[in-house]
């Protein structure tokens, strides 16, 4: 048997709620498509459709430029700021 899938394949969450526009200032909403280390999650794990994945990547990159979401999380920053801004 192949390895068990870590994430269940799902339908696009954004299509379901009919999201047409994402706001980069709403950092809490971006959480869904970010990993624990604030990397952008791939489509195969989140189940996002191509359209919404393109949207979310642009929005996340804007949020990074605006210092709402970190670019990288190192061992040092993990300890000092665990998800503080986003909740």
């Amino acid at each position: 048997m192949s390895e068990k899938r870590k994430y269940k394949k799902r339908f696009c969450k954004y299509c379901e709620s009919k999201v047409e526009f994402m706001d980069y200032k709403d950092a809490g909403a971006l959480r869904f498509s970010l990993s624990e280390r604030y990397k952008i999650m791939p489509r195969r794990l989140t189940g996002n459709c191509k359209k919404h994945q393109d949207m979310i990547t642009i929005v996340i990159k804007r949020a990074r430029a605006a210092a709402l979401v970190p670019y990288t999380v190192t061992r040092k920053t993990v300890v000092s700021a665990p998800f503080e801004n986003l909740r």
């Binding site: 047409e20 526009f21 706001d23 200032k25 430029a65 210092a67 709402l68 670019y71 920053t77 700021a81």
Partner: protein, 139 residues
């Protein structure tokens, strides 16, 4: 005229008054270049996701405005000169869908700007209600 949105991060080392002045200066730059400010939103002092110029915090301010596309380069040039600003992010709202979203955001900001006055009244009522039992107990 095209719709834009500018997010500005002001240095946290300034006093509250200086921050308000620099925010006013930002809006002044936009209007001086022929921009029409639709609404503004002060997100307030926030912790930055990563330090910028060794600053851990910053004062966020968002301005929604419409301006001719040719003026944007001048506005950004003026922002770069301004030393009070840690960072600015300019977003263009171009397609029909984005313009719709821009209008929605502006309406939302205008509503949230007008609601705090309404919210204060119930808060006071709650405060009075809390005070009343205390007085009763004191008697």
């Amino acid at each position: 005229m095209r719709h834009y949105e500018n997010l500005v991060i002001v240095k946290p080392t300034l006093t509250a008054e200086e921050i308000q002045n620099s925010v006013a200066a930002v809006e002044e730059i936009i209007t001086a270049n022929g921009g029409e400010i639709a609404t503004t939103n002060a997100m307030g002092m926030r912790k930055l996701a990563y330090p910028i110029n060794k600053n851990e915090r910053g004062y966020y301010h968002v301005v929604y405005y419409s301006v001719a596309p040719s003026s944007i380069s001048e506005i950004e040039r003026r922002f770069r000169i301004n030393e009070d600003l840690l960072r600015f992010v300019t977003i263009k709202y171009d397609t029909n869908r984005e313009i719709k979203a821009w209008n929605q955001l502006v309406d939302k900001m205008k509503k949230s700007a007008s609601t705090p006055a309404k919210e204060e009244a119930p808060a006071e009522a709650v405060a009075e209600a809390q005070e009343a039992p205390v007085e009763a107990a004191a008697e």
